[in-house]
Symmetry: D2
Subunit: 179 residues, 4 copies
Amino acid sequence: MLGIIVFHGSTRKDSNTAYLTYRAVPKSEATHIHLRDYQVHPIVDERHSEQGFKPIDDDHKILIDQLLAHDTVVFSTPIYWYGMAGPLKQFIDRWSQIMRDPDYQHFREEMKKKKVYAIIVGGDSPEIKGLPLIQQFQYICQFFGMTFAGYLIGKASKPGEMKNHEEALAKAAFLLKRE
Amino acid sequence: MLGIIVFHGSTRKDSNTAYLTYRAVPKSEATHIHLRDYQVHPIVDERHSEQGFKPIDDDHKILIDQLLAHDTVVFSTPIYWYGMAGPLKQFIDRWSQIMRDPDYQHFREEMKKKKVYAIIVGGDSPEIKGLPLIQQFQYICQFFGMTFAGYLIGKASKPGEMKNHEEALAKAAFLLKRE
Amino acid sequence: MLGIIVFHGSTRKDSNTAYLTYRAVPKSEATHIHLRDYQVHPIVDERHSEQGFKPIDDDHKILIDQLLAHDTVVFSTPIYWYGMAGPLKQFIDRWSQIMRDPDYQHFREEMKKKKVYAIIVGGDSPEIKGLPLIQQFQYICQFFGMTFAGYLIGKASKPGEMKNHEEALAKAAFLLKRE
Amino acid sequence: MLGIIVFHGSTRKDSNTAYLTYRAVPKSEATHIHLRDYQVHPIVDERHSEQGFKPIDDDHKILIDQLLAHDTVVFSTPIYWYGMAGPLKQFIDRWSQIMRDPDYQHFREEMKKKKVYAIIVGGDSPEIKGLPLIQQFQYICQFFGMTFAGYLIGKASKPGEMKNHEEALAKAAFLLKRE
């Protein structure tokens, strides 16, 4: 086990979300994956079609292998329309396919051992309007029996704004060093 | 104004979600859009880049024009990992781009007049674990000042299962005829 | 086991909440307890005081015995300030004391077997603003491992108003006859 | 305007909730009201009875006058069964009566100007299972148009435990000094 992996959902480089996330999990202390750098096709629900899911030629399994190789998982995402960003949701949606892949029969059992954190950043009252997203992460964790060990909600809209948010940055320092 | 438009988020044909949705909004009574039949690229957040959003060559504006042409909007989606399905989220995410498009300066003002319903269907305790998604729709409506006039939560996993769900089907009949 | 018990939290006789509740659970089909007719003192948290909880001379244990004697429990309450009504909350709060009462060592184990329903009625967008209360019931059920089998949200403000709410009344008929 | 008022809902002296709250709002910087020291009768809903609410001889109006005399209001409460503690709920429930009291016709208008904070402490995953309570506070604020300026969730069960929770205490220091 390699320790911490961070999945960054932001579509923008040097985003506020990334800034806050690096304060919570410095570059040197984790494997950082920027999902926008990988190709992941959206799920097509073929759970019930005769042949099952068709194999898809993209980077999803590379990401899954990375996920499985770490024991602590941080999901970092800007809040888009009160939900997670597309690249992160697309990555997660495809887990439904992985769970039916003969090569990943251990997926569910392995996931159960993970410790999960979420970092979300939004501009419109994220501490309130981001709560459904936090609950969504909680249900995802519950599905696998993963431990949802903590979350961090940051507020920012304009580029660079996060730098001045002392409170969020102070909280970031605590996220993974929980009591 | 053309009355009711339904945006179907399911990636599967003849899904349980579609079955329930047609019971709430019969084919003949609304414009039904199956988002899987349209190409919509995921948003890339360029709100803050110098040139703004790059024009994107896909079907998004066709969908937006349809949306604007109706006064009642029904979002129908299976619950994927406790959130909405990709095609629907992708459609909504791109509204951020529309709001900065000079051709759609009336978008926000027009949206304010809409009456919105949501129909969501899931297999894992959707009446509880679907509530964050309902709250997400509520915040989306609140953003524009749209009226969130009602929602319907159905439970189903296997194909065809919805047909037997008397309760959900009975509720469906009431959805748009609210007191 | 005596079947269904309903705990009514309304402080008003012939309330809209009661009307809806009787449509979901007719008088003849359940034990109906109107909490306003019983004296229940508020909890004083003495879990950590040396002598533990002091015995309290009120009707709480009568209610607990009734609760334990049934296998299906319906909590019915008007929504007061987006939470449950006082008499119901007071009844539930005192469970913390029961759980430390040597006479009720079986309480937790017995509760686990219950099937729970909630009926809530409010005037201010209850289908949205009542959801935190539904989630609260869910967490209460989860604490004991009880099955939260369903809920019903009614909208009404003025006395007698519920009578005209066809939709809520139709849903009521389904509440305990779930698929 | 006298600045900050804190309403403490805990029924126990020297509670973890109080400890955390005093770190967020030191004794000398606010009016601290321990609701357990005041007598407040539960609401009886007589909004629709002919004579309206009967006058009640208790301390409620003393508390309301204090509330109105401050511009920042902090609600501090242990989490009891995933909701607020009885003394605080009882205090809030009676606002329904105040709103129909001819002596308090300015209540609603005055409340609109308040800035509200919530501090909640629980033992069972409060950062997740306390969220419905946070949403409840949000809806209460929304009702009056008050600003819900922030909240703090602490975790503690045993007496004195809060002292060691560096993270919560660090966050407390930020609560009222928000960016």
